[in-house]
């Protein structure tokens, strides 16, 4: 017996440092899985440029970017909330807060542009902090808390504008879309995308937000005060939404309480198309941006091809399903029952 068992006593396996290097070789399949959002975007760009001559014109691309700068920021904010396992339905209404307050500050109170924007940002962010406190400290589910904030913020926007769109004089908010200044909206958005991409990967904040979505209890027991991090994501989401609202006011020279309706759905769709999990703990800024652009391009190409708006919605819905199904299929492993 003893003779026989001796050959099993080889348990101490040395650590093979080379093993870590092996993981760097990525297979084609893995590449398709990791980058599928970008590949879909690329494919869409190719198809669009084949379908329409106007698609790749400077004019069209500039329009897309000017239009999408705001929605993309909203989607990024939404992503951080989703990463914690929450959801923020109030983004659309907070956009209206951003558009209306900044317009009122400039038009009615005679403030100059930059201070008006800053104060509007602070006000919008307060709404997010309010939601965040309800979620993190009062224990209300994100869905419910942000639903409440959504109606409150929309109500406030209508009251302060008395239900009328507020015109902003030229030379104020519209500098944000000025061609001479290289379209500040697009520049600001680009900078924020880079910032949040880096923040997600390289800051303790970004990491803890993801960790909370994976397992909040474990993060708490590791000595991290999770509540303030959860609250911060709603604040970030609100700040970015406010900015998005200001962008729209700048583009249209109008602050209206009706903007941003149903924007939360597009933002959630962008996150999901970008591979984020609504359960939390999974999602990337750049992929969310790609997800937002995918949605935008679908709309754009159908406009260029003069597809009427109601069929557009139907097609959009199916494309969202297709994109997410693709994610699921490529991510599939052998299921354990």
């Amino acid at each position: 017996m003893i003779e026989k068992t001796k050959k099993f006593s080889t348990k101490q396996i040395p650590i093979d440092y080379n093993m870590t290097e092996k993981a760097k070789k990525i297979s084609v399949k893995q590449f398709l899985i990791d980058y599928n959002t970008y590949l879909i975007l690329l494919l869409l760009i190719i198809i669009s440029s084949l379908l329409s001559d106007t698609f790749l014109t400077t004019m069209n691309i500039r329009n897309i970017l000017l239009q999408q700068a705001g929605p993309i920021l909203v989607a990024i904010g939404m992503l951080f909330v989703i990463l914690t396992g929450g959801i923020d339905l109030s983004v659309g209404s907070i956009m209206a807060i951003g558009a209306t307050t900044s317009a009122i500050f400039i038009n009615d109170l005679g403030m100059s542009t930059l201070p008006a924007i800053l104060v509007a940002l602070i006000i919008g962010t307060v709404f997010g902090i309010f939601t965040g406190i309800l979620v993190a400290y009062a224990g209300i589910q994100g869905f419910v808390a942000s639903l409440a904030t959504m109606t409150i913020a929309r109500g406030v926007a209508f009251i302060i504008t008395e239900g009328r769109p507020i015109k902003v004089e030229s030379g104020t908010l519209d500098v944000l879309v000025s061609k001479d200044l290289l379209f500040p909206i697009i520049l600001i958005t680009a900078v924020l995308i880079v910032m949040f991409t880096l923040a997600q990967k390289y800051t303790g904040w970004g990491r803890i937000v993801i960790a909370i979505g994976s397992n909040q209890t474990a993060v708490q027991l590791a000595g991290i005060r999770t509540k303030r991090y959860i609250m911060s994501t709603y604040a970030v989401s609100a700040a970015l939404s406010t900015l998005a609202g200001i962008f729209i006011a700048a583009r249209t020279s109008t602050g209206s309480a009706t903007i941003g309706v149903a924007q939360e759905l597009d933002a959630i769709a962008a996150c999901v198309i970008g591979g984020a999990s609504l359960a939390g703990g999974k999602g990337f800024v750049l992929k969310t941006v790609a997800g937002g652009l995918i949605l935008a391009l679908i709309g754009n190409i159908m406009n260029l091809m003069a597809v009427p708006s109601y069929p557009q919605d139907i097609i959009k819905g199916f494309i969202i399903i297709a994109a997410v199904l693709l994610q699921i299929l490529t991510n599939k492993k052998e299921k354990t029952v």
């Binding site: 017996m1 003893i2 068992t5 001796k6 050959k7 099993f8 006593s9 080889t10 348990k11 101490q12 396996i13 650590i15 440092y17 093993m19 870590t20 092996k22 993981a23 390289y202 800051t203 303790g204 904040w205 990491r207 993801i210 960790a211 994976s214 397992n215 209890t217 474990a218 993060v219 708490q220 027991l221 590791a222 000595g223 991290i224 005060r225 703990g281 999974k282 052998e334 354990t336 029952v337």
Partner: protein, 496 residues
Amino acid sequence: MHDQYIVEMRNISKFFGGVKALKNVSLTIKRGEVHALMGENGAGKSTLMKILAGAYQKDEGQIFVEGKEAKVSSPKDMIKLGVSVIYQEFMLAPDLSVAENIFIDHLVDSGMFINWKRLKQRAKEQLIKLGFDDIDPEQKVGSLSVAYQQIVEICKCLARDSKVLVFDEPTAVLTFSETQKLFDIIRNLKANGVGIVYISHRLEEIMELSDRITILKDGEYVGTVPTADINKEKLVSMMVGREISQLFPKRNAKIGEEILRVENLSAGKMVKDVSFSIRKGEVVGFSGLVGSGRTETMRAIFGADQRDSGKVIFFGKEVNFKDPKDAIKNGLGFLPEDRKHQGLLLEQSIRMNTTLASMSKVKKFDIINHKKEKEYVKELLASIATKYGSTEDNANSLSGGNQQKVALAKWVAADCKCIILDEPTRGVDVGAKTEIYNIINQLAESGVAVILISSEMTEIIGMSDRVIVMRQGRISGELDKSEMTEDNLIKLSMGV
């Protein structure tokens, strides 16, 4: 021909990609026998059982059920043939009643609608058959204790007329008396001709309960032996090639000054007037039944739960940690018992898991230095013999033992001066257990005070300098090295 066997698995092989998970493994199950399946984690037990359950498809070999070759493509096929598996994670719907869960796959026994009265009655019959008439068929499963949930799961399998029942580590979540009750049930099933496959890491249970033992190692078949012909030592050496006396490595720690003292601590319903102290380099075992208040005591000290009264003195100063962050900052760590729900971020990288409690070491102004972090994690994991592919792999790519090592590494990294380990070797195989004991010894030798909560008596006896036994929220006794026997532990924990 093979009439004596209900199930015969012959020369089963299974590949995952290029890796052979099982090589020519055979297993036979007789009517009315308890057949134990043993082997370290990763030996192939779960893979073999998943093939038997129909969840995985075999690549080579044959399965015979009652002499006829079984063609299986899904778990449903196997259930029809009379094979049911009771997994560690029960397949129960917590918001449905006991009766609904038991008959979940045939709620309607005749006609078009559910006959609630009959359903309840049928469930009651099943429960009485097992001797658990105190479970109310209308109660929600989620409100039952884990032990009772297991009973419901067993009833569910029996309601399908199962001829073979597979138990996958059934006692991991049970208390001593609940375990005894489960054994009675298993013996009862056996007497009724049901074939039982029993998977467990606990040698005592296997020796007590089983008729035959099949041992796997690294996906290969080592052998099948009648339990009567083998002893624990031989069994361990067949599994790992190591004697049982080597399970607990020697420790050479100097016990120094007092680090933590708890005086008359009370918290909630589970912690009543608890006092104890622990010194530098000491390993103090906490024994007791599940629910005796050990975990709750530690959570109250750690600041995870509120405490009602009493004092905690840490390094000579009275402290009242208001949350885990406060405790960790002061040098107290806590490895929770439930690795999956409280210990690890399974869907995140090994790197992220390892530094979660010590991020400040690898960041400056909240900016994480990834390169430094990777080096640090690699070094740390190597020092505690963790096997992993890349630091970027998700924690759930690791085996149970290595997951636990990552969870431990998190606390080693946090430079704790006193660490509470709650069931550090639960669900971990024998080989990895010894490695975890080694880590505990390293900690003690470096001067850390270790509190070891464990429900395994051999572990408590093998590892502790002193044992404190708890019962119903109170300390029922303290034993030093010479008094530590299983007998004494049981007596104190059961209040005999």
